[in-house]
Amino acid sequence: MAKLLLPCLLLVLLLLAPALPAPQGRGLIVNLDTGELCLKSFQCKSGCCRHEGLLSLARCTPKAAELQGCSRKSIYNVYYKCPCESGLTCDADRTIVGSITNTDYGICIDPGSSDKRR
């Protein structure tokens, strides 16, 4: 029952979706809220479109806070780990392999802070 119901429901929803008026302040293409599906980071209010793996769906995610894992800004514009919040730098080594595979990971640090890691 539920198995049959679900695809039907989904189909109806997909047909309905374009007809639903988007409330002001958010959208379907840009200006997306945290948790909404995205393809590229420019679509997100937070400025980071993140996915878990290469084949998983990407969602808008808040940027990384200090001491959280991050990755450098990449031309792919989709991330496994979000770039840092403003004022912070992602303390990662840039490698050729890393920039191709989008895995230049590091930790967000405050460049002005005296207790920084290195």
Partner: protein, 468 residues
């Protein structure tokens, strides 16, 4: 002629009211206030206990994954189960259309078992819940009667005190819990997770959940907008000893996503579809579930409305503390003085929902006023927060800006804060701005922390302030 007789017979039966009686559970009538009122116009009698087929699915620390089914009519199922009279018992009752074997009920049990030794009983009445709404809202009377009957068996035959019983009900299940409490006085606690609004709001207390149904009744309201036209499924009126209205009780953050993002959920299509239909309504049990593992992350602030709460009413917590929304609400039992206690708080937009509230006051320093926004991040012994915006607009040096900040992590004892400002366009005069003093007050204990800074910084540069 014959038709007129049938019509007359029908009218007569409606006017007089009917009654059904079932052995063990007693009689149920469709008289006022059960039917025939403005709130409940359609006459319906509850189905028979056999048709509804209420099942009690027991989870304990001995069997946390696979349930044991117990029955009040067959004592051997209780005797030979892992039910122990030395433990508290928590019932979980689902609502309309839902199913007692649905993941959220067993996950709730699982989380409870991780923090306490408890008999966790999921009440499955899916056969009575998957029908017309008017029928289901009458079937809950039988569900409540069945729970009361089991509690009665436990009391008479196992010397189990009803004060150790806690019934958690979601939506229609909340009113089923109310029915059980009404039939068996002395039940310790009932938690109403967004009690259903249609057919229950504004009805007399014997029809719905009410604070008279148990020694302690706490309610979480997450979908309390009116049914017409906003499709709110939950009650808005306060009905318990403590009534929590997270995020104002009407619109939950994370529930306004576009259709595809909502359905294609992190927790799968089924969870996403449920949220698409009733996201706000289902948030109530998600908050409850998270409150089990984050006891301090859901403090409710006493206020008259959500707007006054946002302005700072009820902040910080009074000397006796703030009531915890969710699992630990009963800590506040016995401290209730008011007839109605409305509590407000904010929650996150996705799991984990817990937030810790702070009042932040920033005094700016610098030479000239600029336009832009100010962000503050808090650092403590247990971690640090993201940057939270305190103010936006004209930033005047020596002025003070106050705002509330809901931190997404429990940072422990505050050690320092960081200040950052920015305007969204490039200013060739390279203005500098700083924070002279930032005071931070956690809502939990109200202790004021003071941090000072002497420098000024350019935009997008973090300024660290230390205790002073």
């Amino acid at each position: 002629m014959f038709g007129i007789w049938i019509l007359a017979a029908l009218l007569l039966s409606i006017a007089e009211g009917e009654e059904v009686c079932y052995d063990r559970l007693g009689c149920f009538s469709d008289d006022v206030p059960w039917s025939g009122t403005i709130e409940r116009p359609i006459y319906k009698l509850p189905w028979s206990p056999e048709k509804i087929d209420v099942q009690f699915l027991l989870y304990t620390r001995e069997n946390p994954v696979v349930f044991q089914e117990i029955s009040a009519t067959d004592n051997s199922t209780i005797t030979y189960s892992n039910f122990k009279t030395s433990r508290k018992t928590r019932f979980i009752i689902h609502g309309f259309i839902d199913n007692g074997e649905e993941n959220w009920l067993s996950e709730l049990c699982d989380r409870m078992l991780s923090v306490e030794d408890v008999n966790c009983i999921c009440v499955n009445w899916k056969k009575g819940a998957r029908c017309q709404y008017t029928q289901a809202s009458n079937n809950i009377r039988v569900v409540g009667a069945e729970v009361a009957y089991l509690v009665n068996v436990l009391q008479t035959q196992y010397k189990y005190s009803p004060a150790d019983v806690h019934i958690i009900g979601h939506s229609l299940g909340a009113h089923a819990a109310g029915e059980a409490g009404k039939r068996h006085p002395g039940i310790g606690r009932i938690t109403g997770l967004d009690p259903a609004q249609p057919y229950f709001q504004d009805t007399p207390i014997e029809v719905r959940l009410d604070k008279s149904d148990a020694e302690f009744v706490d309610v979480i309201h997450t979908d309390s907008a009116p049914m017409i036209p906003y499709l709110g499924f939950g009650m808005s009126t306060p009905i318990g000893h403590l009534d929590f209205y997270p995020n104002g009780g009407k619109e939950m953050p994370g529930c306004a996503k576009n259709a595809i993002s909502q359905i294609v959920d992190l927790d799968g299509i089924w969870e996403g579809t449920r949220d698409f239909v009733a996201c706000n309504h289902l948030r109530s049990y998600k908050y409850y579930s998270d409150s089990i593992i984050y006891p301090t992350g859901f403090l409710g602030y006493i206020s008259t409305s959500y707007d006054t709460f946002e302005e700072g009413s009820g902040f910080p917590c009074p000397a006796e503390g703030c009531p915890n929304m969710g699992h630990y609400a009963d800590k506040f039992k016995g401290k209730i003085t008011n007839d109605i206690t409305k509590l407000y708080l904010n929650t996150g937009e996705a799991r984990d929902f817990a937030l810790w509230r702070y009042k932040v006051t920033v005094t700016l320093s610098g030479k000239r006023k600029v336009r832009g926004y100010v962000n503050v991040a808090l650092y403590g012994s247990e971690g640090n927060t993201r940057q939270h915006q305190i103010t936006e607009g004209t930033l005047q040096p020596d002025n003070t800006y106050t705002s509330f900040l809901d931190a997404e992590v429990d940072i422990g004892t505050l050690t320092k804060v960081k200040f950052l400002w920015n305007n969204n366009w490039i200013n060739p005069t390279l203005p500098k701005l700083g924070a002279a003093v930032i005071t931070v007050q956690p809502g939990e204990n109200g202790q004021v922390y003071r941090f000072c800074g002497s420098e000024t910084v350019r935009e997008e540069v973090l300024q660290t302030l230390t205790a002073c």
